[in-house]
């Protein structure tokens, strides 16, 4: 029963992540939506699959390793995208920009 709860949670988080991508103003705020909600949604769907699937213990453990790798790689990718966008010259719409103070 608890796997349906995890599946519904992942679905809900993914829906709000898509809404965030559509509504936020610039690149950096959209990256917030993609990073966190992709990680949370994909991890909860993986946990639901690991509980639901009718297989041996090691295959369930492989799902958990997949969730762990998603949590490891996703922040790195978002950091690379944000830094690359800043180096390319896209200015963020912010109130204070201390990164531009130190790298003129």
């Amino acid at each position: 029963m608890i796997e349906y709860f995890f599946l519904a949670l992942g679905l809900l988080v993914m829906v709000f992540s898509t809404l965030g991508i559509l509504r936020f103003p610039d690149v950096y705020t959209r990256l917030h939506a993609t990073t966190k909600c992709d990680t949370g949604g994909a991890m909860s769907i993986m946990i639901a699959l690991a509980i639901y699937v009718d297989a041996s213990f090691f295959i369930k453990l492989k799902f958990l390793i997949l969730a762990f790798l998603i949590a490891l790689i996703n922040p790195m990718v978002s950091h690379a995208v944000a830094r690359g966008a800043y180096k390319y010259g896209i200015k963020p719409k912010v109130v204070v920009d201390m990164y531009a103070w130190d790298n003129p």
Binding site: K36, K62, H79, A82, V96, D102
Partner: protein
């Protein structure tokens, strides 16, 4: 310290940096501990991925991961702080520190998901890029700290500026509350840095 000539001041700064570097270099683990640590991680990964518990499979995995870890021991365990005995350290990390970290991060991830959903609905954002200071010095520790900051609610690490004595992180904050470096660092990092200081230098 007030009236030191500038050439002496420069020399003094150099000597201080040298002492700092030497103290960090001395704290590294001995070689056999690093080999054992790498072997343990690789072997557990082998067991989970291969997924069968027959005797020859375990033997082949142990042998091949021992060969790999005997010349790749520098990559994984370069930054671990040297303290205590090896067995005690492995048990302490695997049974106490890693579950604590997972417990902290799961709740922070849930909170960040709900907070992004709230911001997406209401659009009450006030973004800014702030600079915070970190007390960690090693590459692995800074990487884990930056990834954890990215997964905590409302923050996204853009760049890391690492010098010999100090490290600074540039963080894109979705809802800027304060510009003071200490308060912002305390609000962003939380207790993750205290946790990381127990393992990495």
């Amino acid at each position: 310290m007030s009236r030191v000539p500038f050439y002496l001041k420069e020399r003094l700064e150099e000597v201080r940096r040298r002492v700092l570097f030497e103290t960090y270099e001395v704290q590294k683990l001995p070689r056999w501990e690093r080999i054992t640590f790498t072997w343990l991680v690789l072997f557990s990964f082998w067991i989970v991925i291969s997924g069968n518990l027959s005797l020859e499979n375990i033997f082949a995995g142990a042998l091949s991961s021992l060969i790999i870890s005997s010349f790749m021991y520098d990559m994984l365990t370069d930054d671990i702080r040297a303290s205590g005995h090896l067995i005690e350290k492995i048990i302490y990390i695997a049974l106490f520190l890693v579950p604590q970290y997972l417990f902290i991060m799961i709740f922070r991830l849930l909170e960040s998901n709900f907070r992004v959903a709230k911001h997406a609905i209401l659009l009450d954002i006030n973004p800014g890029i702030v600079k915070i200071r970190s007390d960690l010095h090693s590459d692995t520790g800074l990487t884990i700290l930056a990834n954890s900051i990215t997964l905590t609610p409302g923050t996204l690490t853009i760049d890391v500026d690492k010098k010999l004595g100090e490290a600074y992180l540039y963080v894109h904050w979705l809802n800027v509350e304060t510009l003071d470096r200490e308060k912002a660092g305390y609000k962003i990092k939380g207790d993750i840095e205290e946790w990381l200081k127990k393992i990495f230098w």
